[in-house]
Symmetry: C2
Subunit: 447 residues, 2 copies
């Protein structure tokens, strides 16, 4: 049990594959239905997965009208509901630092953390989709560096608010009438470049100290932010070599920040498409692909930043045209991962689409093949675990829980039961208040 693999299940619409809503047996409106989320969550928990991960987008873009879009439902509302019908699995809510107020977000995630008894996490994103900006004013999306400068300050304010009640500040002595020890609750008095927030938070600390921080950016600024603040990094890595290098880079950066590198968990995305035989898995993928039409090709085109008409299925990616696009302001992690995968084995666009499931590595095969991939990347130091981007829900998750999880458990690399009651304990992370020195140094930024 020494270095258990960490596994999260991502809920994106009705599945990661763009053809999922047509292929699955339920209603296309299930993505609005509490019973759908309950079924997926309880299935993941029955498989002892560490957490449920909800992505988010604060806009409905044109291509989202073709299928249930991943940002349709507010993640905190969905995870609030799931807190009531699960008891051990973590609940990870994505939320943007560009289009929220730190006080509101800190309080909302802390509320979720109490309601779930210490199972909440916030996945920090800065938002790279231009359509979103138009829902929050007249200005364009801020440039990449500006977004990350704001994100950095935002995260600091949020953690300061989460820490604003000392450990035993909630006294609750009914006999004496002392409810809270006022001297152990402190204003944060944050006064920075982007935010001015007095605090304190409205809530005491949660059972896990404070919510877990996920971070999902792979750019230089994203890595710096993760190394300094994150507990978990949701990575986009398509080759074993680049994943090893990425994880090493982040661990080195964490060490330079004075952190134990083991306190930073790196989870690449992974799309498993599972069949009883390899042929069955390929048939499942083909059926999904047929129903998606050219949507996966268009998604790859937008990931790398060229029009879909610039891509030919039987040719490699047009690297020159990609590099010539100096207006690229989307996810650099997704772009780099696709280019790297294509270059590593001189793959055609068709081959990239087979190996790269909407941006993440994709394993089309038997439960053994999926387990082998997970175990081999973990053993090679490429991953502390994976964010599973299930092709179609709930069927793909059921196959994973029923077929892959028992294999990993038998190999002794995945937990047979939850280690503890909080997400923090299940991730093997320490309470952040055990060593506040580094955090105090950060506060001095704004002094």
């Amino acid at each position: 049990m020494s270095s258990d693999i960490i596994l999260n299940a991502t809920i994106m619409g009705l599945g990661m594959h763009l053809g999922a809503w047509r292929h699955r047996s339920g209603s296309p409106s299930d993505y609005l239905d509490i019973n759908y989320y309950r079924e997926v969550a309880q299935l993941a928990e029955s498989g002892r997965l560490h957490a449920l991960f909800l992505a988010d987008t604060l806009a409905v873009s044109e291509e989202n009208f073709e299928r249930p879009n991943l940002g349709a439902m507010d993640p905190t509302a969905v995870l609030g509901a799931l807190a009531a019908v699960t008891s051990r699995i973590g609940l990870v809510a994505t939320a943007s630092t560009s289009f929220n107020e730190p006080f509101n977000l800190a309080r909302r995630i802390a509320s979720l953390d109490h309601l779930s008894r210490g199972r909440a996490a916030w996945n920090i994103v800065t938002t790279f989709i231009p359509d979103v900006a138009a829902n929050f004013g007249k200005g364009p999306l801020p440039p990449h560096a500006e977004r990350y400068a704001k994100a950095e300050e935002f995260v600091d304010v949020v953690t300061e608010l989460w820490d604003s009640w000392d450990e035993d500040a909630l006294v609750g002595n009914k006999a004496s009438g002392l409810f809270a020890d006022r001297s152990r609750v402190n204003a944060v008095n944050h006064d920075g470049r982007f935010f001015s927030v007095r605090g304190p938070n409205t809530l005491p600390r949660s059972p896990q100290g404070r919510p877990i921080l996920y971070q999902a950016g792979s750019s230089e600024e994203g890595r710096a932010l993760a190394a300094r603040t994150a507990d978990v990094v949701f990575a986009v890595q398509n080759t074993l070599a680049s994943a090893i290098a990425f994880r090493k880079d982040l661990r080195d950066r964490a060490a330079r920040e004075g952190r134990d590198p083991d306190s930073l968990k790196i989870l690449p995305g992974l799309v498993p498409i599972i069949g009883g035989t390899e042929r069955e898995a390929q048939d499942r993928k083909s059926a999904l692909d047929d129903l998606a039409g050219d949507a996966e090709l268009r998604k790859l085109a937008s990931r790398v930043g060229v029009p879909a008409s610039d891509l030919s299925l039987d040719k490699p990616l047009p690297i020159d045209r990609i590099k010539a696009n100096d207006k690229f302001n989307a996810s650099r992690g997704f772009q780099a991962a696709a280019i790297q995968l294509g270059a590593s084995e001189n793959l055609t666009v068709r081959e990239i689409l087979y190996r790269n499931g909407g941006g993440h590595p994709q394993v089309v095969g038997t439960p053994e093949q999926v387990a082998d991939f997970i175990e081999s990347w973990h053993r090679a130091g490429a991953a502390d675990g994976f964010n599973l981007m299930i092709d179609e829900l709930p069927s793909g998750l059921r196959a994973f829980v029923d077929e892959v999880v028992p294999l990993l458990q038998r190999r002794g690399v995945f937990q047979s039961d939850y280690r503890g009651d909080t997400l923090r304990s299940n991730l093997g992370l320490r309470n952040p208040h055990d060593s506040l020195r580094n955090y105090e140094q950060r506060r001095s930024h704004y002094a």
Copy 2:
């Protein structure tokens, strides 16, 4: 069943009375616990109450350290959890128009509406507590009129977003691959004084058309906003005469806006303190009062806008000193209600504290006396129902559900079962899209 009384249960901390946390049998930290909320919600639903109402404050003020504060937990997170463990009762989330983004709030409440299958409502408040402003920047709380101007535009943007998907826009035809009918989803392109929001919303319409709108301000601007936009008004009325006048005024205003006055439901707050005999009820109140110390006196002082030292228990309210306070920027509804109650029968501060439970009328008595109060106000045209501010939770709610609800049902003035599946149908309100004319007129404000 013709004019059923509407009853909501408000969850404020561990009860409305400031001594509740010391008097009740559970843990003082129950206000953070999902099981506490589940118990209260399921109890209210077993009594066929129409909705659960969660107040909110985006700050922890000094007096909040003396007890569980009403804005500790984010209402949408709590109500998300309750959506999963209830099936018929409405879920009303208070949220401020001064410190949220309309796009985020519209999406979050709409998500709650889908998760609950049409049981969500938003209670519109503009925020009158100065401490809140300091959590959102350096400026002070905007003046009253400015807050309401912003609230008015905020509400329009939110309803525009809720209406941005036409009724059948979600097609979901798996065979043809048509997910949404793009021509039936429209950008809102709102460009106003305070907000610029393109839209559309990320979600189709909910089972009740759109979430219900509650409004809780009683000032001139608050009434105008309610008459134009609200489905339900949460009122502060301490005398029968003023409540009749208030309800008539709002119904007249609604009629002048071209609305059916019956489409606007007026619910004053009501604090029932229930005992098997009147003496038992008085003993319950005394026990709660003893545990609250002078907290109720200080709360009354802040409601009317003078220091607590200006109040003497055996004298009337110092009207001259109250009027001399030209800096008053808090709730005018609470202030007027307390002054009116005191003047109506020349009451002392002690008598006001007995009749006015933290701002709202208070009935200390038997189930019959509580039922009589409710029925008489309803028959007199003073109320379409009440927002019950339960003294202590869950015990006070259990007494109400077990003892008062059956009386009202036997008298034929309260529902024996829910009429429908959505909050809208249970309130007897029509789908707003049946008559969009008035709404279209409002949109032209910003054209």
